[in-house]
């Protein structure tokens, strides 16, 4: 039972990491490099979007990603904690 809980926690963690790293890679290698030329035809303010993402946007995305991970993991930890305590009560 306890084993399953830990495995579940790890699986959830892995899924979260995978999703966030996908966004991370898509931003860095996709939008800021591979699609740069294409995105540069679009403008954000008076800057080409590709350029803006590469020099500003990507950094903001990184900040958001780390905080999303930290707070989601906090929630997951709490969930796990409460499950543990519930189990303990049942025992």
């Amino acid at each position: 039972m306890h084993q399953n809980k830990s495995q579940r926690y790890w699986q959830d963690n892995l899924a979260l990491i995978r999703n966030l790293l996908l966004i991370w890679a898509a931003t860095t290698f996709g939008m800021a490099i591979a699609l740069a030329k294409f995105l540069n035809h679009i403008y954000l303010g008076r800057l080409p979007l590709g350029f803006w993402i590469a020099q500003q946007g990507a950094l903001l995305v990184f900040v958001v990603l780390t905080f999303v991970y930290a707070s989601r993991m906090e929630a997951l930890d709490r969930k796990c904690d409460s499950k543990h305590s519930k189990n303990d009560e049942n025992n």
Partner: protein, 908 residues
């Protein structure tokens, strides 16, 4: 005098630099440490936000601070790889490394590698990589410190380096990680301000918008810059891939990111926070603080480039040479102006052969305040900022070098019995050694160092990053895999960089530039690690358990791997085992004690019961004894009563004769006397015979004495009769039935019986009896019993008085005569009271309590039975339903009070 010759800029610089240095020294002194936990990991209690800020301080180096904007400015779009590469790595740190390393909870990166790959070789490889990375890095920092100090304090570079060494040494050696952490926080604050203030100033000056990021996005500066680029034949500033191919850009960005995530001086910072949660969030905060600077940098880059080009391009060279800052920077050879075509104007072109303006990227940030004619104090602030950035990074790197040697080599591999103090001492010495080495390298920089800073990232990317992440995310990765992966990856990356940089090796791997090869090395490392691991034996169970533990929720650190237990830790482990045994023993002992206690309780209970029984038995026995005593007494009294009654009766008859005849005898006597007197009168001269006879019997005396004798006899017989009456009265005690009697009669007869004790004796005068009788009705009572009680109390009173007389002379007693007061009264319609008081010495407190106990006596053995008062009490309370009380005051006397109901029926 020298100060007077300083320019305003120099004065401001001196002020800012000195103030900030003073701040660091104070912080360093405040946070000095003693134990190894504080020295290496700041006691693991750095607050989340502070760690984020310190990490940003740690991370942003002098190179970053000074060159970042310049590099971006030169590279345009392609400069983004540095912006993204040096921030994106924190996502990897937050997601893949920091929380697990924190949970692992040791001191260094080699700690993790050594434990996870259960190998001293792996640890040693990690130590070597660590030191190599940090030395490469720190050399640049020390050089940066030297340049800034020399530039702004007007000393030569070598002196600047020396000053830098002393400063960094002070707070690193004294404060260890703790000192470094808090100085880094302060240093971040200083250089962040130093970076933002000129950025805001230039932004405001060029666009009217003070926020650089906003100005960058909304103003037309970048558009104009693009236009200038087009006019001059450059690619657009915003156009990608002018300098690097997309693949190259991707790989460089990846190398920088992964390298960041593998840089030991960054990841050890996450050992210093409280828990995993704090590690994740502080990575986020670090990124926020870094992003504040790094999103400002591209704006500064664009603005600076625009300013420079418009100030210099197409301007007459002579006019430009008049500009103050141009001269200054030209002197440092960071700015080179050559009129190659001799037309008297400067021209900026993409072709180095015709380009006449050559600016080193390093000059841009430092020159901005002057180029844009900002206030002189801003220049001073920028200098202080550059110094802060250099010092903070240098300190972080120094600590890693020191801990790699002091902790990983000295403590873990050489002397595992080293004490806490020894470890800190070696740590401090190693900081000193590392300082000396990096100082030397700063003063005499080897030619390659500047070019291979990228090598640090490549090395970190191709060694640590795969080793750490696979160690956490792939349980199957074993020692063989990790070591061969690190070796292959590092050798590949190092070989490629060195070959390309120094031996003109063609970029044979897809034309990847040396900066980007770390990512390939990392990939190679991972492939080799995974492959070799699958081909060799899986890691031991203990290591797999370690990995499992790291993956579980909760902050409990895992157990160390056995082979790495130092002597001290082995002792600790044994201690822990002993402790648990001890605990078990303690529990057993407790259980036994509890059992024993239960037994004792039972025994006690048993004893209590026995005691209770014994008391009951004793009570019964004493009841029995008192009963027996009473019976005996009653028997005795009844026998005595019978005897007295018999004697009284028997005496009564003869006394009646005597008393009855005595009256006649008196009459006859008087008659005879009168007759004799008549004779004497009628015959005054009797014959001689008669005269002789009269003389011989002394007739005159007889005549006078006879009546007296008779009177005295009368008195005696009266007294006998009284006594007999009293005896009969008294002997009515055997009459058990209740009769209405005159109590006063009983008292009187009792007093009479005791007369012989009351009357005067040799040693004392008579005891005075005061009879204060009230008007009592006849009281229904057992007269005999009541008499017995009164007798008892009176006898005790006499005893008490006689006791009190002891030691007093006859005269003394006469002065204060012994008294017994008998007082009777009616309380109400139901009750009468008899009070008998003496003025004796009183009854002591202790005796008072026991006075009614059976067999209690104060009299000598044989004189008292101890039953008197007890029986009296029973007679009054039980037989008559009355009350017997007494009051006694020492020295003043005792008073017994008997209260009995007048009518017994009324009560029953």
């Amino acid at each position: 005098m020298a100060i007077l010759s300083w320019s305003q800029t120099e004065i401001w610089t001196a002020i800012f630099v000195s103030l900030s240095l003073l701040l660091y020294l104070v912080i360093g002194w405040q946070s000095r440490v003693r134990n190894s936990k504080d020295f290496f990991v700041a006691g693991r209690n750095v607050p989340t936000l502070a760690n984020g800020m310190a990490t940003a301080g740690d991370w942003i180096s002098a190179a970053s601070f000074i060159s970042m904007a310049g590099v971006v400015s030169f590279l345009g779009y392609d400069g983004s790889i540095y912006l993204m590469g040096w921030t994106g790595g924190y996502v990897l740190i937050a997601l893949l490394i920091a929380p697990y390393l924190r949970k692992f909870g040791q001191y260094t990166v080699p700690d993790f590698v050594g434990d996870r790959y259960y190998s001293k070789t792996a640890r040693l490889v990690a130590v070597v990589a660590c030191i190599a990375i940090c030395l490469v890095y720190i050399t640049g920092q020390m050089r940066g410190v030297g340049i800034i100090l020399s530039r702004f304090l007007q000393v030569d570079v070598d002196t600047g380096v020396l000053i830098g060494i002393i400063l960094v040494g002070f707070f690193s050696i004294l404060g260890g990680m703790r000192g470094i952490t808090w100085t880094q926080v302060a240093q971040y604050g200083v250089f962040c301000l130093a970076f933002l203030i000129p950025a805001i100033a230039i932004s405001h000056q060029l666009t009217g918008t003070p926020i650089p990021q906003v100005a960058f996005t909304t103003s037309d500066i970048v558009e104009r810059l693009n236009q200038i680029h087009q006019d001059l034949g450059f690619a657009d500033y915003t156009a990608p891939f002018a300098h690097h191919s997309p693949l190259d850009m991707g790989l460089i960005a990846l190398t920088l990111m992964v390298g960041t995530a593998g840089l030991p001086h960054i990841i050890v910072r996450f050992y210093t926070v409280k828990n995993m949660r704090s590690a994740r969030f502080s990575a986020g905060w670090a990124l926020v603080f870094i992003a504040i600077v790094y999103t400002t940098a591209p704006a500064v880059a664009a603005f600076a480039r625009y300013s420079l080009i418009t100030t210099l391009n197409q301007q007459p060279i002579e006019a430009v040479r008049q500009i103050d800052w141009v001269n200054k920077w030209a002197a440092t050879e960071l700015l080179t102006l050559t009129d190659k075509n001799g037309d008297g104007r400067l021209e900026l072109t993409p072709d180095p052969a015709t380009n006449e303006i050559d600016i080193d990227p390093d000059a841009i940030m430092l020159a901005i305040p002057e180029v844009t004619a900002l206030a002189p104090w801003i220049t001073g602030l920028v200098a202080a900022g550059g110094l802060a950035a250099a010092l903070s990074t240098a300190a972080g790197l120094l600590l890693v070098i020191s801990s790699s040697i002091a902790h990983d080599v000295y403590y873990r591999l050489i002397n595992s019995a080293a004490s806490e103090t020894q470890r800190v001492m070696v740590g401090r010495i190693m900081v000193g050694v590392a300082l000396a080495v990096s100082g030397y390298l700063g003063v005499h920089p080897p030619g390659f160092v500047a070019q291979v800073v990228a090598f640090a990232f490549g090395l970190a990317a191709s060694s640590f990053f795969p080793a750490i992440t696979l160690g956490i995310f792939d349980k199957r990765t074993n020692r063989e895999g990790a070591i061969s992966g690190m070796v292959v990856g590092t050798l590949f990356a190092a070989g490629y960089v060195i070959g390309a940089k120094f031996y003109g090796m063609p970029l044979w791997f897809f034309h990847i530039s040396p900066e980007g090869i770390g990512a390939v090395g990392m990939g190679l490392n991972m492939v080799v690690t995974l492959g070799v691991s699958r081909l060799t034996a899986p890691p031991p169970a203990a290591v797999q358990a370690l990995v499992d533990h790291l993956r579980m929720p909760g902050d409990e650190p895992p157990r160390r791997i056995e082979i790495y237990y130092s002597l001290e830790e082995k002792l600790e482990l044994q201690n822990a085992q002993l402790n648990s045994l001890n605990h078990q023993l303690a529990v057993e002992i407790q259980e036994k004690e509890q059992a024993e206690q239960a037994l004792q309780t039972l025994t006690q209970e048993l004893e209590h019961r026995v005691q209770d029984r014994t008391i009951e038995l004793q009570q019964a026995l004493s009841d029995l004894q008192s009963m027996q005593m009473k019976l005996v007494h009653t028997e005795k009294m009844s026998a005595l009563g019978n005897l007295v009654a018999g004697i009284a009766h028997e005496i009564n008859n003869p006394v009646s004769f005597i008393s009855g005849n005595l009256t006649h005898l008196q009459g006859y006597g008087q008659d005879l006397l009168r007759f004799v007197q008549l004779y004497q009168k009628c015959y005054p001269d009797p014959p001689n015979e008669i005269q002789a006879e009269a003389k011989s019997i002394d007739i005159d005396f007889i005549q006078s004495d006879l009546p007296k004798i008779l009177d005295s006899m009368q008195l005696g017989t009266d007294r006998i009769r009284e006594i007999v009456l009293s005896l009969r009265n008294f002997s009515r005690m055997d009459e058990a039935e209740f009769k209405a009697v005159n109590i006063h009669e009983g008292i009187d007869s009792t007093l009479l019986i005791l007369q012989h004790r009351l009357k005067a004796q040799v040693a004392r005068p008579a005891i005075e009896v005061i009879q204060d009788y009230g008007d009592l009705p006849l009281v229904q009572c057992s007269a005999g019993s009541l008499n017995q009680v009164v007798m008892n109390i009176l006898a005790n009173a006499i005893d008490a008085l006689e006791d009190g007389n002891e030691g007093l002379t006859y005269q003394d007693i006469e002065k204060q005569p012994n008294q017994i007061t008998v007082r009777t009264s009616v309380i109400d319609a139901q009750w009468v009271q008899i009070a008998i008081a003496d003025n004796g010495p009183g009854i002591p407190e202790a005796v008072q309590k026991r006075i009614l106990d059976p067999f209690f006596t104060t009299k000598p053995v044989g004189k008292g039975t101890g039953m008197g008062m007890s029986i009296s009490y029973q007679i009054i309370t039980e037989q008559h339903g009355g009350k017997l009380e007494f009051m006694s005051t020492l020295g003043q006397g005792t008073e017994f009070i008997i209260q009995i109901p007048i009518h017994q029926q009324a009560l029953s």
